[in-house]
């Protein structure tokens, strides 16, 4: 479904990603792991068209994303839950969700998708008329996920979901993501390695802008090097 090959990305004159290659098949849960500043979020930015590719190609369902603007990538069925949630603080929960359905693919189904989001996160229904900025961190994360789902994406990118959230809340939100079912493919970036391995089938490890390891999440979980480097065990 998503195929990243030989991708180099720069921020200004500084190269951030070197020769990244990874693949996600339909229905899969894939995690990208790595420490702070390894380039995980830049990879998300490259897929969504926020950062341009210097070399290489990203293909989504056979179509190249190189040179597309973020608003065009969204139309193809890729939605991002951004790092730091970035809900529209001065818009109500309802309006935030409506903005998620802005792409043409989502707009005709607006009512149905909103009902689905409320089913997934009942708290959002209670807060429907509240401004996004007044929500708690966990609720904002739910809203950011809900907003992304409103465009009926085939590929959901989730960037640092657990950042700044209480473990209990994180668990609740990951459980909800599990409930999405096979029709939504998920590629997640996560600093919390244990959590990410638990909730994914396969994982890639990114270090200083390069993919250094990949494998089945269950195998990586048992790997001594990884346990020592990331899990402190």
């Amino acid at each position: 479904m998503l195929k990243v090959s030989g991708v180099d990305v720069y921020r200004g004159e500084t190269q951030i990603l070197w020769d990244i290659a990874l693949e996600v098949s339909a229905g899969e849960r894939v995690a990208i792991l790595g420490s702070n500043g390894a380039g995980k979020s830049s990879l998300m930015a490259a897929i969504t068209g926020v950062l341009p590719l210097r070399n290489g190609d990203i293909r989504f369902q056979g179509q190249s994303l190189a040179g597309l603007k973020p608003y065009q990538v969204t139309q193809l069925g890729i939605a991002l839950v951004p790092e730091g949630r970035r809900v529209y603080k001065d818009m109500t929960v309802r309006e935030n969700l409506e903005m998620g359905a802005f792409p043409k693919r989502g707009r005709p189904m607006l009512k149905g998708s909103m009902a689905r989001v409320f089913e997934l996160f009942p708290k959002l229904r209670e807060r429907m008329h509240q401004r996004g900025g007044t929500l708690s961190g966990g609720e904002q994360q739910m809203l950011a996920i809900g907003r992304a789902l409103m465009s009926l994406p085939e590929l959901l990118l989730v960037d640092e979901l657990s950042l700044g959230l209480a473990p209990r809340v994180t668990k609740e939100i990951y459980a909800a993501l599990e409930g999405l079912g096979k029709e939504t493919t998920v590629l997640m970036v996560e600093q919390n390695v244990e959590l990410a391995l638990k909730h994914s089938r396969r994982a890639y490890i990114v270090e200083s802008g390069r993919v250094t390891r990949m494998g089945m999440s269950a195998d990586l979980m048992d790997d001594t090097d990884i346990r020592r480097a990331y899990l402190g065990m």
């Binding site: 926020v50 973020p70 001065d90 998620g100 802005f102 043409k104 465009s151």
Partner: protein, 285 residues
Amino acid sequence: MLALSITNGLVIGIIYALTALGVSLVVGIMNVINFAHGEFYILAGYFSYLFAHTMGLDPVVAMVLSIAAVFLIGIVVEYTLIRPTYGDDLYSLILTFILSIVMQSTFLLVFGPFPNKPPNWVKGATNVFGLFLYGNQRLAALIAGAAVIALFFAMLKLTWFGRMIRATSQDREMAELNGINTRRLNMLSFGMGCALAAAAGVILSPVFPVTPSAGVPVALTAFVCVVLGGMGSMWGCVAGGLVLGLVENLGAAFVSTGYKHVFMYLILILVLLIRPSGLFGRSET
């Protein structure tokens, strides 16, 4: 005297608010400060004069046509002058400043230095609440201005275009990720900002005729309104406009007309001393 000053203040205040909304819209979406904002106001006044006076169209038709024309000119200006400057706000600042001078000189060449006045829409005067006689044209301007502001807010709240504007001014990159073509939105909002100035221009020009350089104080007041109300807050613009209009007129009536413009800045300084982010602005956190 008090009631009259308040009414005068409201009329002017609504027009200030209208002009300030245009500035605020363009700053919020594009981060561009349009120094030629006042000239678009004047341009609309001249258009309205041309269409209604020279071509003999109905004043209301002339107004609508003028606003539409300024909207289109705004779009052309964004496309040709502003678009190449994205990424460096200083360039657009200088460019719109030059544009302002060019437009003023053009007005002077084409229309001459004398005031031009589009025809009134209504004649006569009304006795307001039995207190004082007030020109119907000014009352009509008050109502028309308030109506345009109400329409603008309804558009922001109820339409997809309004949601696009609000989302983009809050988080431009996120809005783009939500499928908004922000480049095109820039163009439309610049046009709309100019159209708001134009609306103010056609509404007020029958009361205060237009001259080539009359746009300068208009733009200046609009900038003060935006800062007073709080950067990025549309309601702040309206509040700022009304406060300025009222303070100016009450000050002129009870202190001295000579200090009319001093009051504006006095209020600005006082408000910024107490609330540095303006009346409705949120402090940066």
